[in-house]
Amino acid sequence: MPNEVKAFKPKIVAFCCNWCSYAGADLAGTNRLNYPADVKIIRVPCSCRVNPMFILRAFQRGADGVILCGCHPGDCHYTTGNYYARRRMTLLFSMLDYLGIEKERTRVEWVSAAEGAKFAATMNDFVETVTRLGENKRLEDLRCKE
């Protein structure tokens, strides 16, 4: 029906580190665990490869939520990468909140290669949170909207 209002489907960008979370996502797939198809995964070499600009650019291009997944602290393939990422993201999320932008749209989760179930559960939960928040209005770029 043409007049039917479509249910809101959020666009979620997930930055996953190559060594843990990306493998974790793979495991979720091979285990046939369900998580919403709204999650688009971008593979990065390490969680600390993600700079604040990546996250803001994702919002600019229409993401409603951005999640960063990496190895558990202490388990980084490059030894210390995720420790730096942790500090950066803490400060960035706090700044977004300070500007009145919904902080729930951003999240950091540590997912190891063995935690396929955690990956699926995290994504389900995050998609649910963002769906509840609705469309990203406070950090949108109208030129990039359809």
Binding site: L56, R87, T90, M95, G100, R138
Partner: protein
């Protein structure tokens, strides 16, 4: 003070300790002070000024100036020495080429600030006790120091010079300032109020890049905002996203390195309180990772190039500052 400074600078030029002097000169108007380099005693006599309008932080100019041959003399106020130290830590200034004279500072006012208070036709300024006496076309006007100082000077963090080769006047002390009061006030608002507040401030931004260009910490040779692929390389911010993005990234790039000198807010032609963004990062770093004052020393590691295993998780943010 100005006489003493010119005399001392003249001496140092005379005996060959330095070849150039970095100081201030009057621009188009008397309150419109610009940094300048002087090479002889005559030039100093003719152009050098030091008064209550000389708020400019000269540290950044040393990045270029200290790479030239010969030593340069520079006058630094206490808060400028923090920026100087920070640049030394980042290996941007050649310390051997700089001779620092520390000068005391009781706060600098600003022409625009006085004009907003209804002072017209400014011809000069002098300090008398706790007052500024402004010489104008319409006679002398006396303004209490408290009323004439911008926010950064009212909440001065330190009267102590972190680094100097020679000191004029007394050695000051690090002060207990209330510089985070406004940040706390904003944090106590609801997210909607905060959003409205920052929209009303940041939407005035004309992307002149003055905040970036004046900032001593913001001195990369290649700036991310000059990259045509950055998504915000426009001359003017096209929509609210660009304004947010520019200011978040600008503040983030100096997080942990910002000494809170307040130059960004001073130069902003739209009077956006940009220092409140920087102070938020400083305050967060203080609460999460322990007290840290950039520019206090030249050895310690900056908070964002450091970590401990016990650092708080980013999820701590969800428990603070109210919910949407």
């Amino acid at each position: 003070m100005q006489g003493m400074m010119i005399a001392r600078a003249g001496e140092l030029l005379e005996n060959g300790t330095v070849t150039r002097v970095l100081g201030w000169q009057t621009g188009e108007f008397v309150y419109d002070i610009t940094p300048a380099v002087f090479e002889s005693a005559e030039e100093l006599e003719k152009g050098f000024v030091y008064n209550s309008f000389c708020g400019n932080n000269l540290s950044k100019y040393l990045i270029q100036a200290s790479r030239k041959e010969g030593k340069i003399l520079v006058f630094l106020k206490p808060c400028d020495t923090y920026s100087f130290n920070q640049l030394i830590k980042e290996h941007r200034i050649v310390r051997e080429n700089v001779y620092i004279i520390g000068i005391p500072c009781d706060g600098k006012t600003d022409g625009e600030f006085l004009k907003a208070k209804g002072v017209k036709g400014i011809l000069g300024i002098r300090e008398e006790g706790d007052n500024f006496v402004v010489d104008t076309l319409y006679g002398e006007k006396t303004i209490a120091r408290e009323d004439a100082l911008p926010e950064r000077c009212r909440n001065c963090k330190s009267k102590k010079h972190m680094v100097y080769d020679e000191l004029m006047g007394e050695e000051g002390e690090v002060l207990d300032s209330h510089r985070f009061d406004m940040v706390e006030k904003l944090e106590a608002m609801t997210p909607d109020e905060r959003f409205a507040f920052w929209r009303s401030q940041l939407s005035r931004c004309i992307r002149c890049n003055a905040c970036r260009n004046v900032c001593p910490a913001c001195s990369c040779e290649k700036c991310v905002f000059d990259n045509p692929q950055s998504g915000i390389a426009q001359k003017a911010a096209a929509d609210s996203f660009e304004e947010n993005m520019f200011h978040i990234i600008r503040a983030f790039h100096v997080a942990g390195r910002c000494t809170d000198c307040g130059e960004c807010s001073r130069v902003c032609p739209q009077n956006i309180p940009l220092h409140l963004l920087n102070r938020k990062f400083i305050k967060d770093i203080d609460t999460f990772y322990g007290e840290y004052q950039a520019g206090e020393d030249t050895e310690s590691r900056a908070p964002l190039t450091n970590y401990t295993q016990e650092d708080v998780e980013p999820s701590i943010v969800y428990t603070r500052g109210g919910n949407n």
